[in-house]
Symmetry: C2
Subunit: 211 residues, 2 copies
């Protein structure tokens, strides 16, 4: 069975989006800053249907990560904020399972992305995504609430953090507020650190709690 | 004139101490985890008056940092929580200026540490520390409130973060709550990243705002 993986860009002070993130500002005010390192990369551009772009270590890391999943799980809030900017050919190119309370028919987009709307909770969404992934990994796209829920429940196997050297000072926190993740320390094992001028990538695997 | 520098150990989710930090738990519950990488290092042990310990890249980085300051500024909360564990020979070995509202005579300890209690605010404490440092740097020891205040006011020149791969999930945050640092993004420039199994050191310099 594949693993559950996620990658997120985070400021030094723990934000993955600026303030007022939503339909009007998908990344929050100032939140583009967290992604400036990725916009020019070949792999990122290819996912958006664009040609060209830079290679190098950042791109290789990204390419390796995005080649792994066979399906995506995402929260409703992320779907709502992304719907318009993603356009007719969203950058997923695989089945995406949206955890939502609003039943809706599957939405087939160009380029291989189909959005499935799952009303039976994140666990069911993961189950369906695993089936669709056919042995490949499942990527957790976000948002923070959903990632937090998976971390708390011990269902996130690997987390790739792109740490950007900026303090956003406000916005949406990846790891939520005190207690959101359960209140007990959660250990990770670093498996890779790759540093480049604009970003420090830290790859982490969950350490199973001692039993 | 020397620079203002700080070094702090931080969890992935931004905590520098566990919950209930105070006299009873100086590092907060579970907060020792953030410092486990440092306890065995030669430089750290020497600061505590102990012999032996490990060398290597972590130790060299620490040694380089602790050789720089000629004086320390610290908040009252940190002084209160540290007073007892530091004992008769605190690990500073230089003048320490405590920002407090409680006037008190200077307290001379063994090994070169004298605590001076400054009631005229952090700016005055920094001024006195600069004088005492005689051209060397001034180290900002903590706590989070004081470091945050210096960051917000643009008075911290260099920040050495020791990022530890654990989610503490609760405790005292280095960068406070949304808005505490002023609400506008603050850019830093990475000058060094050193990774070792237990910790990732990220050294940052404040980028002057465009004027």
């Amino acid at each position: 069975m594949g693993e559950v993986i996620a990658r997120l860009a985070m400021s030094l002070d723990g934000y993955i989006a600026g303030p007022e993130s939503g339909r009007e500002h998908p990344l929050g005010i100032g939140g583009e800053r967290l992604h400036s390192w990725v916009f020019g990369l070949r792999t990122f551009r290819r996912m958006q249907g664009m040609e060209g772009g830079a290679g190098g270590p950042d791109d290789e890391l990204l390419a390796e990560h995005v080649a792994r999943p066979g399906a995506v799980v995402m929260g409703h809030g992320m779907y709502i904020t992304g719907e318009i900017p993603w356009g007719d050919e969203p950058p997923f190119h695989m089945p995406v399972f949206v955890v939502t309370r609003h039943p809706r028919e599957p939405l087939v987009k160009r380029g291989g992305t189909t959005f499935h709307f799952v009303t039976e909770g994140p666990e069911r969404a993961l189950e369906l995504a695993r089936e669709a992934a056919g042995g490949k990994d499942v990527s957790l796209a976000g948002g923070a609430d959903l990632v937090g829920q998976f971390i708390r429940d011990g269902r996130l196997d690997e987390l790739l953090l792109h740490v950007v050297p900026v303090l956003l000072c406000d916005g949406r926190r990846l790891f939520g507020d005190p207690g959101d993740l359960g209140g007990l320390p959660i250990e990770w094992r670093k498996t890779q650190v790759l540093d480049s001028p604009e970003v420090t990538h830290i790859r982490l695997r969950r350490t199973p709690p001692a039993s």
